[in-house]
Symmetry: C2
């Protein structure tokens, strides 16, 4: 059991989990973190599955430079206004002052725009579908590990298309198939997909779509965004192509990103008073076998179980650090959120019956030794499903309906609020600010993502947010 | 056929290959490059296999911050002297001047040292084995794509041990099992492993070991290094542990790195007058099927072949861009170095006999359609073997023996030179400089990597180098 409960003091609970589950540590530079091996292993699992989906969407990975001349930002007016306050600037290098200061990339639209302009000449070069996995830097005034850090790891997709329709369709497909479906099926996070109101759009976008997750304290976390950039960047960076008739046209571009912030979302969606709860699909160890005594028979059995599980493609860890007390070991694995724990001591070895703990429910059950291994795959699948179902229930219980700003302010103390966008559109958004609320996204009456200009009767999802 | 031959004008040949094989493009910032999708796909294959080996060596991946306070560098005297001329410095961020300038990491020994000092307290915490995949920045006066760029991608391993012997053994194991064996088996590059002379050691190391590859022009390329750092960094960053008896001791650390430079080594080891030659193990497409005409029967056959090869785990690309001339298409795949090419036209479809080209030898052969797919795995394995064998032959033919500096200068015009280290140790190294030669590494009489202090009768490998 942790010292802090997520129901009572969520921020302190989060700090305690970061430390005790060995996820992150503060770096010497304010707002930057060291991602510790256990968290990085989660990130690698997430990254592998995301990368598979990005490639299935036809995008190719590439690598673009970290440093971007400041003048590149100035080419797109809204972009430079949006990002200027967050830039880190390199002024000296190689022992002397640089002729032009360089920005450390906060995102790569500008430099990729310049490359696209070189590589696109004909409609046959389109669509051009690129993605990169990289670090980016945005100076943060109020950093918080994984949610908002000065430096973070992410993927950023950048595509160019022959028409507005193609670009819109691609941006939407990424939102659906790469982001929202990944979070739902893999992270067991049921996000709400929608369109950002104009005030919350990415700097330079004509449409920003988002997946918003509800955290354990009822606050919203923006987990990934997909943008239509119209012809804004294409015009600034001269991304032109010859159409089938040979005439020059300006391309339509998109960009889309998701980051290590998703790890914060994962921890804050599923964590409880015992620590992390990891869905099996992204758990570095899906099963931990705790060998209770320093005993050759227990060791033999633990190794045998481990071998059989590994053969089934299951990620297993054997904890045989019997020099530590059993209580502390067991608590540590609970804090780390390992989905299944098996305690293996003298009685288990002699009686041939294992005690198995499901971390998501904390339920213990007895399983015969010879029945355990074949049961694990279905059990892990069940945990994954149940975690999603319970996240959906928690979310839905905490969504209220409001028909005025005053009602919204009250309801949003514990969760999300649905209310007509018409109430907020003309000045109402401003009234949310003193209560630290914002419109997280707009959805249609049926809960779909609205088309860009079709938001008159949309529902606004209002919440406190990270 | 390329315009430039590697035998006549190697640097121009390299530039031509970079462009025509779509590997890299220059970034707006001098010395930085854009790694294009085809090269990045090669990097992903290399990275996956390296990562597997690093994990097999027991190291865990983590992520450390990009920005390092300048004061951290100053803690280790040799380290700061070595790296100061290459640092990029951030002086402003978030709209104001920083209280302390930040270096963009050129390597992470210092910041990881600071973390290790926090995380290590007992001998039970050792060895601590960490690795990170990241970008680093070293300002370059004479950049060249993949070989020497201002920013590059790499992995850097950092470990701490209880004793000098453990640290030395681990650093050597990384050199052997992760680096040299990977290059030999996977990249088909037969490197020469050895110890760097003191003048060429990493800044702050007590011993640097290296893998040196011979490029197509006979120059050496340092492909990976593994360092013993003694207690230098541990002392500067206070990495201490309580030994079994409870007394405080200072840890012994290592670091080791390899980078996107290995791609340059791959291209420059195997490339020929037709372009790249890729070993099958790192070829993004191991087989390309060139569909000659826009014809449904050819398309059906191409898809069928593709499907059968994919089932065998082979990476296949079908080129059905029949709007381009066949000659240009075929030349492009030769430049891109795809190991096997199959031309599929009307005659092949009707006669049921395929024309298969081996890129490494440029030999064509006829293969019956129904015999082709089952033959591919063995054929790819054969290409991999033959490419290694021919690289070994080329290397060995270009290693000469010298017994004086004057002889070495002459022999090194075309390849490597072996000569007694005793001749160079006391002032001889200086005499190599005017001829742009250096001691690449020291090996024992038997060609092994010498122990650190056992180099009296070592052989020096002397060469021009990138």
């Amino acid at each position: 059991m942790l010292k802090h409960s997520p129901d009572i003091d969520f921020p302190e609970w989060y700090q305690e989990v970061l430390k005790k589950a060995e996820l992150a540590d503060n770096a010497p530079v304010k707002g930057a973190i060291f991602i510790r091996p256990y968290a990085y292993a989660i990130w690698e699992l997430m990254q592998a599955e995301m990368d598979r989906r990005i490639k299935a969407a036809g995008a190719e990975n590439a690598y673009f430079p970290l440093f971007i001349p400041l003048s590149y930002f100035e080419k797109e007016k809204e972009h430079v206004e949006g990002f200027s306050p967050e830039l880190a600037i390199v002024t000296h290098a190689g022992g002397s002052e640089l002729p032009e200061p360089l920005a450390v990339r906060p995102t790569s639209e500008t430099v990729i725009g310049a490359f696209m302009s070189k590589w696109i000449s004909s409609h046959r070069d389109l669509p051009l579908l690129l993605n990169q996995w990289a670090n980016v830097v945005r100076w943060e005034k109020r950093p918080r590990a994984f949610l908002r850090t000065t430096e973070f790891l992410w993927q950023e997709g950048h595509t160019a298309h022959v028409s507005e329709g193609d670009a819109a369709q691609y941006a939407r497909m990424i939102l659906d198939d790469v982001y929202s479906d990944f979070m739902y099926r893999v992270l067991a996070i049921p996000t709400i997909k929608g369109q950002k109101p104009p005030s919350e759009r990415f700097a330079g976008a004509t449409n920003t779509m988002t997946c918003e997750g509800m955290m354990g304290d009822g606050k919203a976390l923006q987990l990934a965004t997909s943008h239509e950039l119209g012809q804004n960047f294409a015009r600034s960076f001269d991304i032109q192509f010859a159409n089938a008739a040979g005439a020059r046209e300006i391309a339509w571009t998109t960009s889309w990103g998701s980051s290590t912030r998703m790890m914060g979302g994962l921890f804050m969606t599923h964590g409880d008073e015992h620590g992390l709860r990891l869905p099996p699909s992204v758990a570095p160890y899906q099963v931990v076998i705790v060998q209770i005594n320093d005993d050759p028979e227990q060791e033999r059995l633990a190794n045998q179980l481990r071998g059989s599980l590994v053969e089934l493609g299951i990620r297993v860890r054997v904890d045989r650090d019997t020099s530590r007390g059993l209580g502390a070991r067991v608590t540590d694995w609970e804090i780390k959120g390992v989905p299944l724990r098996v305690d293996l001591g003298a009685r288990e070895a002699s009686e041939g019956v294992l005690t198995v703990l499901r971390r998501d429910t904390m339920q213990k059950s007895k399983v015969r030794l010879d029945e355990f291994v074949p049961a694990v795959p279905a059990l892990l699948a069940r945990i994954q499903e149940d975690m999603l179902a319970s996240a959906i229930t928690r979310r839905d219980q905490r969504i209220g309906e409001a028909s005025s700003v005053a009602d919204a302010v009250e309801l949003a103390q514990t969760g999300f609020v649905r209310m007509p966008w018409a109430i907020l559109r003309d000045g109402g958004e401003e009234q949310l600010k003193p209560a630290a609320l914002s419109v997280r996204c707009l959805v249609t009456q049926n809960g779909e993502v609205p088309l860009r200009d079709d938001v008159d009767d949309a529902i606004a999802i209002v919440a406190r947010a990270y």
